[in-house]
């Protein structure tokens, strides 16, 4: 569990660096897609184990989104956390999807 948390932390750190320094040069229709948000969505969607990976991803991604933005720290952590919980709730109650083995133990 700790290994997974460390992996997610460094994964989202690298993604945040790419987002603010590399991807900004490649807008699609004038906007740069938010990789942090998309990655959180993907992990939450594929998570099998009660959403813990989705929550960990939301906290990591939100932390780095706050770090590289203005405003109070924690705003995007809360937003992504709520989002991950919502996705988890919808998947648990209404959807059956196959998940990747890497997200299960």
């Amino acid at each position: 569990m700790i290994k997974k948390a460390i992996f997610l932390f460094f994964f989202f750190y690298s993604l945040a660096l790419l987002q603010v320094s590399f991807f900004v040069h490649f807008p699609l229709a004038g906007r740069v897609p938010n990789g942090l948000w998309l990655a959180t969505l993907l992990v939450s969607f594929l998570d099998r184990r009660r959403g813990t990976n989705g929550i960990a991803s939301a906290i990591s991604a939100g932390f780095f989104w706050d770090l590289f933005s203005r405003g109070p720290m924690g705003l995007h952590i809360l937003i992504l956390l709520l989002f991950a919980l919502l996705v988890n709730l919808v998947l648990k109650k209404y959807v059956r999807v196959p998940t990747l083995k890497v997200f299960s133990t």
Partner: protein
């Protein structure tokens, strides 16, 4: 208590504690992360720029042969205008000396490098902070004296510059051929508009927009952009125009901050 419920309460408490700690030590946390990330960010920023330029060149390759002669012709026309303006500048300096007003001083500038752009907003991150003499409100320009924006937030080693295209930005400007000014408003995503232009002013596409210096927001005479589209309506007392910013976002690496504003 149910273990699952207990875990949820524990997690919620940890998150709240994390938020309190993060907000209490916002500045040092941000500064430390930027400091640590800065070398990597610079490399990624320049790599992204290089790749974007290459892709852009490949895409535009076909139209380059048409664009080149047009640009050469524009350069020749502007060279003639520059020569005329240089003559006028010389005349002005002589007049100022004669009137005892002194010579015009160039700005005192601090050089900074762009290392990132804020997600979804018109803010850039630069590698100079309070320890380098940067303070909030400093005006940022390019080496061609094109207006970029103002410093909005300063950390010890890094600062955020709010671009003039940010929706929070507005300032007075005018077109080069008119004395009456209007209000430049940021529209977000690197877009600008010029509002409150009197209906009787004949604004044309391609006209350059420069700052007027009114209210002391930005120094006078900095290049803002070019008029791209004029919107007139008989129902309103003012007309509006869209502006293409003069700064080239994709080529932005080095900027200057005016320290004697």
């Amino acid at each position: 208590m149910n273990p699952a419920r207990r875990n949820k309460i524990l997690l919620a408490s940890l998150v709240i504690l994390l938020l309190v700690v993060l907000n209490s030590f916002q500045e040092p946390i941000r500064d430390s992360f930027y400091n640590f990330s800065s070398p990597g960010q610079k490399v990624l920023f320049r790599a992204g720029q290089g790749l974007a330029n290459l892709v852009g060149t490949l895409i535009k390759f076909k139209s380059l042969s048409e664009e080149n002669p047009r640009l050469l012709s524009e350069i020749r026309a502007q060279a003639a205008q520059i020569a005329l303006l240089k003559e006028r500048e010389k005349e002005n300096e002589v007049l100022r000396e004669a009137l005892g007003l002194g010579l015009h001083e160039e700005f005192k500038l601090i050089l900074a490098e762009v290392i990132g752009k804020e997600i979804d907003r018109d803010f850039i991150l630069i590698d100079k902070g309070s320890l380098d003499g940067i303070f909030p409100g400093m005006v940022a320009i390019t080496q061609e004296k094109v207006l970029l924006g103002r410093v909005s937030e300063v950390l010890s080693h890094f600062s955020r510059v709010m671009l003039i295209s940010s929706p929070e930005s507005n300032f007075s400007a005018k077109t080069e051929n008119h004395e009456e000014g209007g209000l430049v408003r940021g529209k977000g995503r690197l877009r600008l508009s010029l509002d409150l232009i009197p209906q009787e002013e004949k604004i044309e596409e391609g006209e350059r927009v420069v700052t007027t210096g009114a209210a002391g927001i930005f120094p006078k005479g900095l290049w803002v952009g070019k008029i791209s589209k004029v919107q007139k309506s008989d129902l309103t007392p003012f007309q509006q125009a869209e502006i293409i910013p003069a700064f080239d976002w994709k080529g932005l690496v080095i900027i200057f901050l005016i320290s004697n504003d």
